[in-house]
Symmetry: D2
Subunit: 471 residues, 4 copies
């Protein structure tokens, strides 16, 4: 029987927003922010974050499992992974192509921590922490990418040892950490911050082999928000980005004390690398799942704009439409398959998506994203960047001119609504945001290629070639 | 319990070969061929054809189902389609990357005939014919592609009405057909020839709306073989193509009488188009299944050659290897998914692979095949086309020179064996054969794009885009 | 001897700006603009327009020819075209990658008008107009692209005949025109507006076969500006777009009277199509010339960012750098060649760049632009969209944090300056502007392909193939 | 005044062929060859080689300069390089798309030797040798690529030191060399063999830093021919490759004595690398020049086949045709530009094509060749590999059947002639030969990318980017 949000341990959107009002140290555009919910721009991000909760209220059969948010449901089968993927996809569609990410990434990290610490002393801490997050239906951010300094050097070879987050003091009751992470998404509007290593570490780099979690409002945790998505919030020209926003932070740990029960890994360089990779195994699966509404929107926009412009029967347009469909459905197909081909971690019984298939899906998405965008731009036309302002459209004097002259094969109101959506998704800041994320988020194209190489078993193909060669 | 070939209605390779010795009218390189099995070149094709039978003897658990060849097993579920795909893939691997195709394509056509004639008068004929083929474990060819003449015109607009196969006389006991089909594979070494239309037909084109089957040895059926794969049969330089061959024919119907019980469609132009497409639905699934050993061989060769040349750690080589793996596994993944997403024909209960996924798989294979070949060529090196002859290698005087100077990071014997395999698969006639087939066999890239467009449901994506646009 | 701007008929930047203060009817963000120079945003565009004049002051040897602006120098040789290309390239580099375009496009149109009207009654009008523009060193915009309505239909088949600009009344002393053009660049900050047809016209479409020029401040000419580039003008995060702007307008002709001496073409449908194409011949050459600073900036940025991030020795980075160099230098090489291969119009002696080479250059630029951008994004990193705000950098409290943590292989100040430039060029509004322009400006990819087909002489290649085939 | 071959120091085709009859030690398919001209297969290659001489007889204005073969004309200007390029292009067109290469590559090496030895003791030897070759109008091969063994190791680190050609003894009157080169083109049918190093060498590798020349018939020089192009010589199905052939050898130096006056470099490791690169500078220019007839043939074939099949108006066909034209003309344009941008070697006054432009031209050719081939295959159709044999066409019984059924929009004789040409160029052994050469000949794609990186001056682009960034 489907549980409603009332019966389950899940919070409402309002409860979530209320929980964000605390002493967290957040900076935006040069100023300390008092209240992230009330803030005109960070508030948009906070309300976007609340959509995970609102979605659950409207879709309990998908979003609630065994009395908790389905995000917290530990996957043990292909069906669990399929459901998780469907939840992420549909919640992102609900959130207008922008992933909500206040539980998605955090649970990816928790599943990874659960598996990697299995059989170690800290496994109990992970489990206790997992339960407290799940039962409190908390919102989580994950800080993984260190600022890294000179990328040709490892943590210990940097001019400044703080360029990777590290332990600067070990006490009986916990550790003190210093350093900074970048690209931490949603930090200003979550409850908890999980911190994990960014890469494999060498012997002698024990101080950088640290994983832990702290409430965002912990003293010494300082969030410097990017204002990249700061822009004119006209909902007519920016139908998506005026209402949906995700904030990334430079997340500084200014000698932050972490109590022992929240330290999940300390000094184990081998497990540090394992944790980084295990997290990524889940997180790329999450990533492809949440890219699906965006690629669907590209396909749908291309179809709708072709019709609005009266060019849907032009042969080059049909060719581009097929390429877009092929792209979108290849990515979707591969991520479904990654779930269906899931593997079960022996030690814990936790399921994870097939790494090779997941990475091929992500690589396919990222490799062809820019070409897909270009095709939709081609179909849309130059009006994407030469169209009128919202104030023009709302002007009684100007609007009739636009209605007369910017009509296509459909009325101007319809054509311009589609054009504005396209401009938002394909040309403006939000487009650039998605474009850069396509290349870099959840690991770069190069990282995905590396993982494909690692997860592919070459033995059968080589044996077959050698047999054909008579060897 | 697995049945062995002895218990089941399946023939041995010898029985199959014996069955090919009849009055069939076959021409090769300007001459009438008396005995296709004894012929030095057609015999290679015949023995290649026999591998479907030999494979069944060795792999009854996969190749025999309910007392018959699994090829004849009518698919009714995803599992059936997966098994069929696995059989085709493994039998092709057994046959050294060249599909055997003496039952694969024929059963594709039979399933299509079964579905399309369902509810019509001729359905019983199809079923009777199917059972006789299955029970006799017959080998089948399918002639679909008409010679077409001027491709900008349909059958009825051609200067010569015979450029599409057509009925020239209707008698009470059957029909007389005239015309020719091209690209008919394996015709000289099968028992039966199934003939189906190549395209949708218009009203007034009833005479071209004809589907039927005849034994190959029927009077008036004349097979003009292509000698494209005629070449030096040195097994050292051509480890695959010297032993494996498929023969295509120009298949002429010189006023051939077809008895009524073997006429499956006559005059129904609507069903003619339906039959063409339904056949293709199965046949592209078959096609991608049998391409997998070839793409695996490319990957395996690239890996083995990189090592043989001592370049496996070069960064550009690793990059190419990943791209090859991504290609091979995307194609494999999509065809698995096409089976898993199978649909069930309502009228007959027969399963068919998801058309969109099948066509995306085929399109991906065909679109990227040449780039994949180029990558393996890049890794292999120029020796592909400047290497020694088999007679050089077998010469006591010359071989030591080759052993000294053509060694790589492995001995010359091993490196040259791999190089020769690569030359066979990537550069020589067989390579060209595969290269052209990649573009044209089972429908061109353009045909696949058309089917992707047709089988994709645009409504959800358009609705989503419109919702995002506020429409 | 090189003439200085003082001796020649050229205006200063100030004179140009002063000339923009008249009764022109300009709308921006819903409001009528009184003074386009004083306006906070349109003023940026006006000052950007003034760079053509400022550049001439600093570079008279290139920018002044025979006593006038070199833009007005009618090309009669390859050397003239090379000089024009160099002027456009260097002026655009001076203007920080954004073409100035207040003389470039206008003279493209004037050369085309000169050639196409040669031998007709209106040729003298064109010449007189040309001289007045040249001698007054006027700034010019060109309105070509009609709003077009339903693109599957021609002008006469539209629901509203005004969707292509047309003559609604012919008087002895001139004509009255109605309709609208889109994508008109720089209109608010030029002196004169030249209007030409957008496409070939059929018989019966004489009213749409109209070319003319009017001062921007002509009654009935209404300019509705796009506010696409309206954005936060922080010069730290947007080093280029905060200071450089081009404004496109929807240019409405609300029953505008054009005196006879300014009507260059009226009713000649054949010449209308010719004029559209001849203009484009020049304008694509202009376009590729002004794209060079942008592609150079991509290459330079990629190199500088690779070093700033410490990844310049990573093999995938080197591979991307070479691809960028190959792209930039192919485009540059082809446009040089288009000038060197120039042709001379027989009737007028005016030179024009080789159409095939020009279109291949433009097609190459446009086809590969998005892939080039993607490569630079790949090298830059995610900080492109997660970096700090200008107010952060200017904050005494926050800047030290950024200096400590966002340093790379170079200090943070340097790395962030490069990152901000990259964000401006590759991700933000200006990036989207360039991205859409790459596909659509000066004709779409499809239009360029069409022109390649038209300007290529197939006879030699076909004759050669036939000879090889023994035909 | 144009000199005819009679007045100039040039030989006739017959004289050239006569000169090949000597004691040279040539092996083909396991047998020693007595007379390379009389040999049924090597004779084809010899007669192909004679086309350079026959071409000169027919085209003295292009092929003869100042009394000698134009190939021997030392380039001192852009015009000289353009003429050299035109000669190579037209001679290759004359030779049916297969470069003749009996003077092209040899003079590339001579120009390089001239420049690199300038100022050294051996420069006089080079000049004397050059003059003797020129005055005798000799045919030359160049052996550069060592067999290399394990490519991850340099010459001195190989298990067998002979895997790079080296000096094994130094005598007062000359040196003794041992080792082997691969991919040496035309060796069996030239007079002289020039040997140069394949790569930069390190200190301690002096013995491998050797360049010299010997007559092919020198004792100890053993040529092991590749039989890759050995095939059915039916001129109907193979209109090009049945008559044109180039033979590559494994060229073994079995303790060959080289007299001092023919030793051009010995022990100078720095100049060894310089020589390898300088040769390549010329040879890639030669290479692109001789690829032009092949790419023209692809374009011409595509156009002719589209018409023969009746598909020239299909939109996807037009799209492919434009892509082919764009490809062919970009390659041609860039190599013209490489000549126009030539540089002059300061020490010798010898001109050389601009290295960056040459390498971009070669990279463009190689990078897109396979995609171009695929497009022509797409237009041609499956008949490429399923068509009839020459014996079928010559059979009185069968030919009428083929004429009836294989007609397209043109008669079968014409369509099949084009189809056979296409099969020869795109699918059969010769196609594979060209396909592998596209990737590997005259340096691989990776080598070209390396040279683009080296020859590009990054300073201006970086300075521009930094200036834009405010640095």
């Amino acid at each position: 029987m489907v549980q409603t949000t009332k019966e389950a341990c899940v919070r409402t959107a309002e409860q979530y927003l209320e929980g964000l009002r605390d002493a967290r140290e957040v900076y935006y555009r040069g100023e300390r922010v008092d209240d992230v919910v009330a803030h005109p721009e960070l508030g948009i991000a906070a309300r976007h974050g609340s959509l995970d909760f609102a979605f659950a209220e409207e879709n309990p059969e998908l979003a609630i499992a065994e009395g908790h948010s389905t995000y917290y449901h530990v996957p043990r089968s292909a069906a669990d992974l399929r459901r998780r993927s469907a939840l992420i996809e549909q919640a992102t569609a609900f959130a207008a192509t922008l992933v909500v990410l206040v539980k998605e990434i955090g649970t990816d990290a928790l599943f990874a921590l659960d598996r990697v610490t299995s059989g170690t002393d800290t496994h109990g801490r992970v489990e206790a922490y997992f339960e407290s997050c799940r039962d409190g239906d908390l919102a989580l951010a994950v800080a993984q990418t260190d600022v890294k300094g000179d990328r040709s050097k490892g943590p210990s070879a940097q001019a400044d040892p703080d360029l990777y987050v590290r332990v600067v003091e070990r006490r009986p009751d916990g550790v003190v950490v210093r350093g900074a992470k970048v690209h931490t998404s949603c930090t200003p509007n979550v409850d908890e911050l999980i911190v994990i290593p960014t890469r494999a570490l060498a012997e002698g780099e024990e101080d950088w082999a640290i994983a832990f979690a702290v409430p965002v409002a912990t003293p010494g945790v300082k969030l410097y928000c990017s204002d990249y998505l700061h822009a004119d919030a006209d909902p007519w020209t920016r139908p998506v980005s005026s209402k949906h926003k995700m904030i990334e932070t430079l997340t500084v740990f200014d000698d932050v004390f972490v109590p022992a029960e929240r330290v999940f890994l300390d000094g184990d360089t081998r497990r540090a690398g394992q944790l980084a990779l295990t997290f990524v195994e889940y997180h790329r699966f999450t990533a492809v799942s949440y890219k699906l509404p965006l690629v669907d929107a590209l396909v749908g926009l291309a179809l709708a704009l072709a019709e609005a412009n009266g060019i849907q029967r032009a042969s080059h347009v049909r060719d581009k439409l097929v390429a877009l469909v092929g792209y979108a459905e290849t990515v979707r197909g591969l991520i479904h398959l990654a779930a269906d081909r899931c593997r079960i971690d022996e030690a814990t019984g936790i399921a994870y998506p097939d790494p090779m298939t997941t990475n091929i899906a992500k690589w396919t998405f990222a490799r062809d994203y820019h070409a897909a965008v270009e095709k939709v731009i081609d179909i849309a036309g130059g009006l994407l960047v030469t169209g009128p302002a919202g104030d023009d459209w709302r002007s009684d004097e100007i609007r009739p001119v636009l209605e007369k002259y910017l009509a296509g094969a459909v009325p101007a109101a319809e054509r311009l609504a589609l054009m504005n959506l396209a401009s938002d998704l394909l040309a403006r800041e939000y487009a650039g945001y998605q474009s850069v994320l396509a290349v870099h988020a959840e690991g770069s194209l190069e990282a995905e290629k590396l993982m494909i190489a690692r997860s592919y078993d070459p033995a059968p193909a080589v044996a077959y070639a050698r047999k054909l060669a008579g060897l």
